[in-house]
Subunit: 130 residues, 2 copies
């Protein structure tokens, strides 16, 4: 089912992020579809080369991010996941965008920013799928 595949791709993103795994991160992002990335506070990144260079920089010293309370929004062969990103006790809120490229869900955009909210205490429960 697509929604589970999207959640799996989202989990793979946070695994690569937490592990500082540049090769896995590179493999997750679209090759041919347009991509973008808005790291918190950074200037916007619009080309694949710039996006991947930013991840190589971030993954040099991975901040130990953990995904909480992911929620999938599906629009056919395009989807996004909204989730909290916990870095120790600090919460960010993120949207991760995915699209089907050659039959595989790949990332096309990531935006994270500060939030005053926090995931619910039961955020380790199964994710919500719309």
């Amino acid at each position: 089912m697509s929604r589970e595949e999207i959640l799996f791709a989202n989990e793979a993103f946070y695994q690569a992020f937490a592990d500082g795994d540049e090769a896995a991160m590179d493999a997750l992002w679209a090759r041919d579809l347009p991509v973008a990335c808005l790291h918190p506070g950074w200037e916007p990144l619009y080309e694949r080369d710039h996006v991947m260079a930013s991840w190589r920089a971030v993954l040099q010293d991975p901040p130990g991010v953990q995904c909480r309370a992911p929620r999938v929004f599906c629009y056919g062969d395009v989807a996004f996941v909204i989730c909290f990103e916990m870095i120790r006790d600090n919460a960010l809120i993120a949207t991760n965008h995915f699209a089907k490229e050659e039959g595989r869900w790949v990332m096309t955009h990531h935006q994270a920013g500060p939030t005053r909210a926090a995931p619910a205490a039961d955020a380790d429960a199964p994710p919500t799928i719309n």
Copy 2:
């Protein structure tokens, strides 16, 4: 052409935002497709009723936002626009998501957050389309 239609929908969003026009804002958002909204610092909003209630609250006292340097990313019947939101001299960076619903481009998600960047001086030039 779709990309121009998407830019037009993005402009209509900022017009409604600047004008504090609740009816126009409501009409811009998807009726049946799932929607979400991440206002800067707020907790995530996932249901249409909650999203529209948030806009009614924001539009009570519209902050005079202006869109700069919009850039369209297209994936068939789904797209997003990344742009700066200028509120006086403060810049936010936003992603606005659109999808086709009954032949019309409607909003499905909005996320805005702080940025240290600023639009280029020529950001009033014609928008970039990927």
